[in-house]
C-alpha cells in the first residue's frame, strides 16, 4: 500500500505542474464570458442555461484533460526512463498502474472541484437552483473522468501516444452511445452485426448510465439509492478496466 501511495504522490506532484492542467483557467474564462453574454440575451432563467452549459463544458474539458494528462504522463515516464527506475523498486507492476491512477485522479479531482465551485458561484450570481442535485451531478462527472483516466491508462501503456489518444477518444465517444449501438444491432438481421453490437454494449463502459447533468438543478435531489447504484457501477467499471490494464502491463516487455 505504501508503494502505491508513493507512486501516487510522485504522479500527483508531476501532473499538477503540467501545463495541460492549466486548461482549467481557459474553462473559467470561457464560462465567465458565456455567462455575461447569456445574461444580456436571455429572458428568464439565465442560471439554468449557465448550469447546462457549465456542467457540459466541465465534462468535456475534464475528459479531454484526463486523456491528455494520463497519456502524456505515461509516455514521458517511458521516454525519460523513470518507468524503469520505478519498476525496479516495485514487486508487482499493478501497483504502478493503481498508484498512477490515484495520483492523476487526485489532480483531476482538484481541477473539477475548482471548475464546479466557480460554476456554482456564477449560477448563484444569477439565481437559485436545486443545489443538492448539482452536487450529485458534479460527483458523477468526477466518476466519469476517473473511468476515462483508467481507459487512457489501458491504452497508453500498450500503444503509441497518437494511437492511445485516438483509442481513448473513440471509447469516450462510443461510451455515450452504447444504448444506441445495442438498438442498432437489434434492428439488424445480420447475426455478425448483432453479435458485434451486443458485445460492444457489454464491453464498453456506459457513461450515459452515470450522467446526471440533465437532472441537475431541476430536481431537488436524485434518490440516494440510485446514486449509490451509479457509484457502484462506476466503481466496478473502474476496477474492471484497471484489472485488464494491469494484466496486459504485467506481461508486457518494457523495452
Amino acid at each position: 500500500m505504501q508503494a502505491i501511495l508513493n507512486i501516487a504522490k510522485l504522479s500527483f506532484a508531476d501532473a499538477i505542474r503540467n501545463k495541460v492542467a492549466y486548461g482549467v483557467f481557459t474553462f473559467l474564462l470561457l464560462l465567465l464570458a458565456t455567462a455575461s453574454a447569456l445574461a444580456s440575451v436571455t429572458m428568464g432563467r439565465t442560471e439554468l442555461m449557465i448550469l447546462d452549459l457549465g456542467l457540459g463544458g466541465i465534462s468535456i474539458l475534464g475528459n479531454l484533460m484526463a486523456m491528455i494528462i494520463t497519456i502524456q504522463s505515461l509516455q514521458q515516464e517511458r521516454e525519460s526512463r523513470t518507468l524503469y527506475v520505478l519498476m525496479t523498486r516495485l514487486q508487482g507492476r499493478w501497483k504502478y498502474l493503481v498508484g498512477k491512477f490515484l495520483g492523476l485522479a487526485a489532480v483531476l479531482s482538484i481541477q473539477i472541484i475548482i471548475m464546479c465551485a466557480v460554476l456554482a458561484a456564477c449560477i448563484d450570481f444569477f439565481g437559485q437552483i436545486f443545489w443538492l442535485s448539482f452536487v450529485q451531478a458534479s460527483l458523477m462527472t468526477l466518476f466519469e473522468v476517473y473511468i476515462i483516466i483508467a481507459v487512457a491508462l489501458l491504452f497508453a501503456q500498450s500503444s503509441s501516444l497518437f494511437l492511445a489518444i485516438l483509442l481513448t477518444l473513440a471509447v469516450d465517444i462510443s461510451a455515450r452511445f452504447t444504448f444506441v449501438i445495442q438498438q442498432l444491432g437489434e434492428q439488424s438481421e445480420n447475426l455478425i452485426v448483432q453479435g458485434f453490437t451486443q458485445s460492444m454494449y457489454y464491453v464498453l463502459p456506459n457513461l450515459e448510465a452515470i450522467n446526471l447533468r440533465n437532472q441537475a438543478g431541476y430536481m431537488a435531489h436524485i434518490p440516494w439509492h440510485e446514486l449509490g447504484l451509479m457509484m457502484l457501477y462506476a466503481g466496478s467499471e473502474l476496477a474492471f478496466i484497471l484489472l485488464i490494464a494491469s494484466l496486459i502491463f504485467e506481461r508486457k516487455n518494457l523495452s
Partner: protein, 313 residues
C-alpha cells in the same frame, strides 16, 4: 562466491510488421558476477548490453535462460531493496526537483521519511548537485540529471549496483567525481556491474570484464588476463644497433639518437638484454614493460572474431 549467475540467456525481438521475423539480441549469454567485485560489461552499440540489464531488472523477459541472485532463481527481476539501477541517459519527471524525486524514490526503496532529507543532502554534496537540488529537473543539465540518476540508484545502499553508461554526458570533473563515488561503493562492499563506452574509465573502475559481441559473450574474466596478452616490453638504448638480427621487433629512433625497441616475445627481450650489456658499443638506458590498455585489448578481441568469421566464410 557469485552474487549473480546469468545462465544461457536467449532473447529475441520481433521485427517487421506483416511478416513477423525475429532478431536475436542475446544468444546463450552466460557469466557470473562475484560478490564485492566491479565488472565492466563492454560491447559495441547494439551488442545487447542494455537488453541484458533490462532482463536483470525484470523489465523484459528472456526467451530462455535464467538469472540466479544470491542462490535464488529470479523470475521477475532482482529483489528491489537489494539492488540499485541507473538507466542510460535518465531524465526523470521534468516537473519535479531532484529533492522531490529522491524523496519519492527513497521512500519506494523502503527508507524512512525522518532520515531521508539528510541522506539526500549527503548524496547531493557527494555528487555535486546541491546547487540544483531544489530546482526543477527540466532546468538541470544532462550531466546534473546523470548525477541525480546515480544518486537514486545508490540512495538505499544496495548490495548490487547496476549502471548503464554511468559516465556518459559528464565532463572530466564529473567523471572523476562519479568514479570516486563508485569506488567508495565498492569499498563499502557493494557489487557493481556497469556498461561503458569510455574504456579508460572502465579500466580504472573494474577488476572483471565481460565483453559482448553481436549478442554472444567474447570474454568473461579477470581484467589482467585480458590485458596481459597485449603486454609489450620497451628497451631504450644508444649506440650500435645489435638488435638488427631479430625480426619480430618494432624499432624507432628519437631525435637525440636513442633507439626504442619494442617487442612482445620475452625470450627475445632476455637475449637482447644480454647482448646489450655485454657489448661495449651500446649503452642501455632503460627497460620497461608496456601493458596494453583495455581499449586495445577490446579492439583486438573484436577484430580477431571478425577475422575468424571472414576466414570461415
Amino acid at each position: 562466491m557469485s552474487l549473480i549467475d546469468i545462465q544461457s540467456l536467449h532473447f529475441s525481438v520481433p521485427t517487421g510488421h506483416i511478416i513477423q521475423k525475429r532478431k536475436t539480441i542475446l544468444n546463450d549469454v552466460s557469466f557470473s558476477v562475484k560478490q564485492g567485485t566491479s565488472t565492466a560489461y563492454l560491447g559495441t552499440n547494439g551488442a545487447g548490453k542494455t537488453s541484458t540489464f533490462r532482463i536483470l531488472c525484470g523489465l523484459v523477459r528472456p526467451n530462455s535462460g535464467q538469472v540466479i541472485f544470491d542462490g535464488e532463481v529470479m523470475r521477475q527481476g532482482l529483489p528491489p531493496k537489494r539492488f540499485g539501477f541507473m538507466p542510460e541517459h535518465p531524465y526523470f519527471y521534468k516537473n519535479l526537483t531532484p529533492h522531490e524525486l529522491l524523496t519519492g524514490l527513497g521512500k519506494l526503496s523502503g527508507l524512512s521519511s525522518q532520515g531521508l532529507p539528510q541522506i539526500i543532502d549527503n548524496w547531493a554534496e557527494k555528487l555535486d548537485f546541491t546547487q540544483v537540488l531544489h530546482q526543477r529537473l527540466s532546468t538541470c543539465s544532462k550531466g546534473q540529471a546523470q548525477r541525480v540518476g546515480l544518486a537514486q540508484a545508490l540512495i538505499h545502499q544496495p548490495d548490487f549496483i547496476l549502471l548503464d553508461e554511468p559516465l556518459s554526458g559528464l565532463d572530466p570533473i564529473g567523471r572523476a567525481c562519479v568514479r570516486s563515488v563508485i569506488q567508495d561503493e565498492i569499498k563499502r562492499g557493494a557489487t557493481l556491474l556497469f556498461s561503458s563506452h569510455i574504456l579508460s574509465d572502465a579500466e580504472a573502475m573494474c577488476d572483471q570484464v565481460v565483453v559482448l559481441q553481436d549478442g554472444s559473450i567474447r570474454y568473461a574474466g579477470d581484467i589482467h588476463s585480458l590485458l596481459s596478452p597485449d603486454a609489450k616490453w620497451l628497451i631504450q638504448a644508444q649506440g650500435k644497433p645489435v638488435w638488427a638480427q631479430y625480426s619480430d621487433l618494432e624499432i624507432t629512433q628519437t631525435l637525440d639518437g636513442t633507439w626504442q625497441i619494442r617487442g612482445a616475445n620475452m625470450q627475445t627481450r632476455d637475449a637482447l638484454l644480454q647482448q646489450l650489456l655485454s657489448s661495449e658499443d651500446t649503452v642501455l638506458i632503460s627497460v620497461q614493460t608496456e601493458q596494453g590498455t583495455l581499449e586495445s585489448a577490446f579492439l583486438h578481441l573484436l577484430q580477431s572474431k571478425e577475422e575468424n568469421d571472414a576466414s570461415h566464410s
